[in-house]
Symmetry: C2
Subunit: 146 residues, 2 copies
C-alpha cells in the first residue's frame, strides 16, 4: 500500500513510500518464519535480540515494548522449549540473565538460512549505481538513527 499524505515534507513522502514498500511484504514473511520455527512471532523476536548478547528480563521487556508479566511468560515458553535458559546475574541477585541455548541458536540460524528475506524482484533489477546510492543513503540514516 503506497500512501502519500498531503502536506508533508519530501522526506515524509519518501518515508511513507518506503514504509509502503516494506509493509506489504511483512505478513507473508512473518507467516514463513512461523512455519519454519513453529514459534509465535513474539518469541522469535526475543530470540533475535538474544543472538547478540544475553539480556535480563527487564531489558527484554523494555526492548520489545511488552511488560514484565508478558516477558516472564514468553521466556518460560522459550525455556520450556529448550531454546533459552535463565542464569543468575553476576551483579544482582534479583535480576536474571536470559541467553540462547545451543538449540536456540540453531533455530535462529535456521531462520536466517531458510527464511531468506530476499529483496523483491524490482529491487534486484536496480543498477549498480543505484544500489551504491541506496547503500550510502540507508547507511547514513541507519547510523544516525541509533
Amino acid at each position: 500500500m503506497i500512501r502519500h499524505t498531503s502536506g508533508g515534507s519530501e522526506a515524509d513522502a519518501l518515508w511513507q513510500l518506503m514504509v509502503g514498500l516494506v509493509w506489504e511484504t511483512r505478513r507473508e514473511w512473518r507467516r514463513k518464519v512461523g512455519e519454519a520455527t513453529g514459534l509465535p512471532f513474539s518469541r522469535v523476536r526475543i530470540l533475535w535480540r538474544l543472538e547478540e548478547a544475553p539480556m535480563t528480563l527487564k531489558q527484554i521487556a523494555d526492548d520489545t515494548g511488552s511488560d514484565a508479566p508478558a516477558t516472564t511468560v514468553a521466556v518460560n515458553d522459550l525455556e520450556g522449549r529448550g531454546l533459552v535458559e535463565r542464569q543468575p546475574h553476576p551483579e544482582s541477585r534479583r535480576a536474571k540473565l536470559v541467553s540462547l541455548t545451543r538449540t536456540g541458536r540453531q533455530i535462529v540460524d535456521r531462520i536466517h538460512s531458510t527464511v531468506r528475506d530476499d529483496a523483491p524482484a524490482a529491487f534486484q533489477a536496480l543498477s549498480k549505481t543505484d544500489l551504491a546510492h541506496l547503500r550510502r543513503i540507508l547507511e547514513r540514516i541507519d547510523r544516525s538513527e541509533r
Copy 2:
C-alpha cells in the same frame, strides 16, 4: 533491528537494511492508529483500501490475505460502526460492494492528519541530492512492483 544475512546479494542486504529501518517504527505507529481511531488494526487496513474505490468482499479478502468468513465479520463490524456500507453489485447479484460512508471517510482522514507517519529525524536530515536519488530509486521499485 538491523540484520545482515550472510551470502545474499547486495540488493538483498540493502533490502534487509531498509526493512530493519522501517520495522522498528511500526509497532508504535500501529498503537497510535489504534488510539486515534478506537479500531483494531485489521479494520483500519480495510478502510484504507476502500479509500480509493469500493470493493467486493471477495476482493477485500484476497487483498488482505484473510478468508471469506473473517472478511464478513470485519465488514459487519465496520458496518455496525457506520463506517462502511454494503451495496448491491451492479453486475452480479451474488456479490456485494463495500464502500466508505461519510463517517468512514472522516476516520480515514483523521488517521492521515493526526497520526502523521513522519519520517525519522535522520531521514529529515538528508541532503536535497540524496532525497532526489532516493525518490528516483524508490519510485522505480514501486512502479515495477505493482
